[in-house]
């Protein structure tokens, strides 16, 4: 059976230890040289970057997240042992792990590290589909001759480089489609390398719960459960037509996934569908001045990102979370798409003013969707707001100043609220 040493990359014919370096970090699988679709997932990415940059944190439970009121965005493996999970409210995480060190995320640093990893992946294949800063699909089909090594060896080399050059670890899932690759990368975390071959696909999936499917959340899970579907085995018993009739377009996809089939390609730069930003306040507030300041900052960030990508959006969304966690969203479709913070803010503000009641709120967010290229945006003026054009010019000038002298070089007064 083909085998690979993940430390020295020696390829050999099965065995518990590498014949060359004698170390046990060996991956072996009958289809090891034939599988080409991979999912790479960094291990506790934000936390690992922080520990790397500050060795004092190395042995401490570390949580990356926003303040006492926010949620956990990443927990290191020490904290995970204590039950801390991503997306857990911070207060709950701190109950479980009171001695945890909480660090605010440094997104720019993570983005930079992510770019470094991306560069390493670019050397392996052009078919990369990033899912976030710390995970991506790779399609290595047809690269074996170019690299003189099968995909499995190249992937092992990637994680070795990440460890040696960046001081970070990642886990690899290798299979014959995206769905299985994503499942595989999670099987042996951290610093893992898992393989799901064609031959064992069915047997592997059968006893697994259907929540393994990416995109099946609690709601879909409940719907499936009502139909008596908990495991892939349950799903296999369903007729394709019946699944379609009961679950619509998802039904057909489920039918294929039940058989371990997933025809989605690894696509570079899947187009973004929306740009949004939200913030959880350090304490609930109903103060209109404070909320207005937050709203402006959110809108400005969204507009900045839209401008950076050369995009604009037609639909403006306002998101509010009340103190009791009920979520309110309001949308408005503009007749003329925009990337201007001022227009975004004024639209979101009008939506905000129409929300009955005064809060208090714990979270506020703003977003743009139904995106179009910027050339198609902000083309029509408003008869009833003749100063809009002047404000747009002022905003463009402000942007130019910030680009030259830094983010804080010039601010709107309301950004300070």
């Amino acid at each position: 059976m083909p085998a690979l040493c993940r430390d020295c990359l020696t390829r050999f014919d099965s065995g518990p230890r590498c014949p060359s370096c004698r170390r046990p970090r060996v991956v072996s699988h009958p289809e090891l040289w034939d599988l080409t679709i991979a999912h790479m997932d960094c291990d506790a990415f934000y936390a690992s970057v922080e520990k790397r940059d500050n060795p004092d944190l190395a042995d401490k439970p570390l949580i990356i997240g926003g303040g006492r009121r926010g949620v956990v965005s990443t927990a290191c493996y020490v904290a995970r042992i204590r039950g801390v999970r991503s997306a857990m409210p911070m207060f709950k995480a701190l109950q479980l792990c009171p001695d945890a060190v909480v660090v605010r995320p440094r997104m720019q640093v993570y983005a930079e590290v992510s770019r470094q990893i991306r560069t390493m992946m670019e050397e392996m294949t052009p078919a990369i589909e990033p899912l976030s800063l710390d995970e991506a699909f790779l399609d290595l089909s047809g690269t074996a001759r170019l690299h003189g090594a099968p995909p499995a060896a190249m992937l092992a080399r990637l994680v070795r480089r990440m460890r040696d050059e960046l001081g970070l670890t990642g886990s690899i899932g290798l299979s014959h489609n995206k769905f299985l690759a994503k499942i595989a990368s999670d099987l042996d975390k951290p610093h893992g390398f898992s393989v799901i071959g064609r031959a064992e696909t069915q047997a592997f999936l059968r006893p697994k719960p259907i929540r393994l499917i990416w995109g099946v959340g609690e709601a879909s899970q409940a719907a499936l459960e009502r139909a008596g579907i908990r495991t892939f085995d349950d799903l296999l018993r369903w007729d394709r037509k019946d699944l379609g009739a009961r679950f619509g377009s998802m039904g057909d996809r489920l039918w294929h996934l039940a058989r371990g089939e997933d025809r989605r390609r690894v696509t570079r730069n899947a187009p973004i569908k929306s740009i949004s930003n939200e913030t959880t306040f350090s304490e609930d507030t109903g103060d209109p001045e404070i909320l207005d300041g937050h709203l402006w900052r959110m809108c400005e960030k969204v507009a900045d990102r839209a401008k950076a990508r050369g995009l604009a959006g037609r639909v403006v969304t306002l998101k509010l979370k009340k103190a009791d966690f009920t979520l309110l969203t309001r949308r408005h479709a503009l007749s003329d798409p925009t990337q201007i913070a001022d227009r975004l803010y004024r639209t979101a503000r009008a939506l905000f003013d129409q929300v009955p009641g005064a809060g208090p709120y714990r979270l506020l967010g703003a977003g743009l969707s139904d995106l179009v290229p910027e050339a198609m945006a902000d083309r029509a003026g408003d008869l009833l707001d003749p100063n809009a054009a002047t404000r747009e010019k002022a905003e463009r000038a402000t942007d130019a100043i910030r680009a030259r002298f830094g983010e804080g070089a010039i601010l709107k007064g309301r950004a300070l609220r």
Binding site: S335, T347, A350, Q354, M376, R379, A380, D382, L383, L384
Partner: protein
């Protein structure tokens, strides 16, 4: 209640009622029409709580009384009955059903008690005047296309009807705008209308009221208060709340100093705009107008789908100008012109443009250009 009524009269009344009721209702009785019979008339009343329509029709009343039934169902039934049929409506209070019979057909409909039907509170109208149907029709038909559908600017979701000062004295004026285009239509001020408060007549009311205006010379009684407006023919009374908001000061929006004048045959112009816009697949199709000595070139350049150009002979004597517009807005204002040439008055490519019919200033349109 037991009555007999001609199908045509019944159909007209029920059609009006069913278009007022909201299709989706959380309050069941709002889907119903209230039918009340007394003397030799039967009245039909329907409401969505903002608009109430009351329609009187002559009928043979055997037994006075009243009930409510689904407006949509009754309309469907009456619509499908043969022309000229005599329809009998009879209420059986014991079973709570209304029997509808005509010829050999019999229907039995569920009812809800008439006491539960919400009747719009009557109010005092400060101003009462009459106007010919054709006058009101022109005022609203020519302005309603510009009504905004944006809920964030709810005060633009209707036609602003008010008394204004024009060159020749006071006029009855209707204005509508969505921020991209504006229509300002004037009519002679009817007697007794001088002190009318300005009101924003909601979009739906404008549509319902339009059905009262088909006969040119019909006198329409108009009553206006700060909160309500009423339009009445001898048979039909339409009462509506007005939009509770302040219509923006539109006078600032109407350009006074646009001097570059283009005169063009409106229908030729509209056809040309429509043709060149075909190549664009965007939602807001931008058309570029290039004006030069008696020549207008309309063009569309859509990088993804193609380009188009058309030249029109026009009357234009000012300096060269390039200006872009949303094709839809150009088409809509051009289609308001029916007698003379369309006259466009431009300033610069970034300023609002004014359009009117010949030299007639009683109907003026403003449209905002777009960057092309």
């Amino acid at each position: 209640m037991k009555i007999s009524i001609e199908r045509a009269a019944l159909l007209r009344a029920v059609a009006q009622a069913q278009s007022v009721v909201e299709r989706r209702n959380t309050i069941p009785i709002l889907a119903n029409v209230l039918i009340e019979a007394e003397g030799d008339t039967v009245t039909f009343r329907a409401t969505d709580l903002d608009i109430e329509v009351l329609d009187k029709a002559p009928a043979m009343v055997e037994r006075a009384g009243g009930t409510t039934v689904s407006a949509v169902t009754l309309h469907e039934i009456v619509r499908k009955l043969p022309d000229g049929a005599l329809v009998a409506l009879s209420e059986d209070s014991a079973s709570g059903r209304l029997t509808v019979s005509a010829g050999r057909s019999t229907f039995s409909l569920a009812t809800l008690p008439k006491e539960d039907f919400p009747v719009m509170a009557s109010s005092e109208y400060a101003t009462n005047f009459t106007a010919k149907a054709q006058v009101l029709r022109r005022l609203f038909d020519k302005s309603k296309f510009a009504i905004s559908t944006e809920e964030t600017r709810y005060y633009l979701n209707g036609v602003y009807m008010h008394v204004a000062d024009a060159d020749g004295g006071k006029v009855l004026r209707c204005v509508a705008t969505d921020g991209h285009r504006l229509a300002r239509i004037d009519a002679d001020l009817p007697k007794a209308a001088e002190d009318m408060p300005g009101v924003i007549v909601p979009r739906k009311t404008v549509g319902e009221m339009r059905k009262l205006l088909d006969e040119d010379d019909m006198d329409i009684a108009v009553s206006v208060s700060e909160t309500k407006v009423r339009f009445a023919t001898p048979d039909i009374t339409l009462t509506s709340k007005v939009i509770d908001g302040t219509f923006p000061d539109y006078t600032r929006v109407i350009p006074q100093n646009n001097t570059r004048k283009l005169e063009v045959d409106a229908s030729e112009f509209a056809k040309a705009v429509d043709r060149v816009a075909t190549v664009s697949s965007e939602r807001s199709r931008a058309v570029k107008l290039q004006l030069d000595e008696d020549r207008l070139i309309l063009s569309v350049n859509a990088p993804d789908s193609g380009a188009a150009e058309e030249e029109l002979a026009v009357a234009y004597g000012d300096e060269r100008l390039e200006i872009g517009f949303n094709a839809k807005y150009l088409l809509e204002i051009a289609s308001q012109v029916d007698r003379e040439n369309a006259v466009f008055l431009f300033n610069s490519s970034g300023d609002p443009t004014l359009m009117r019919e010949g030299n007639d200033t009683s109907a003026v349109y403003v449209v905002m250009p777009m960057r092309v």
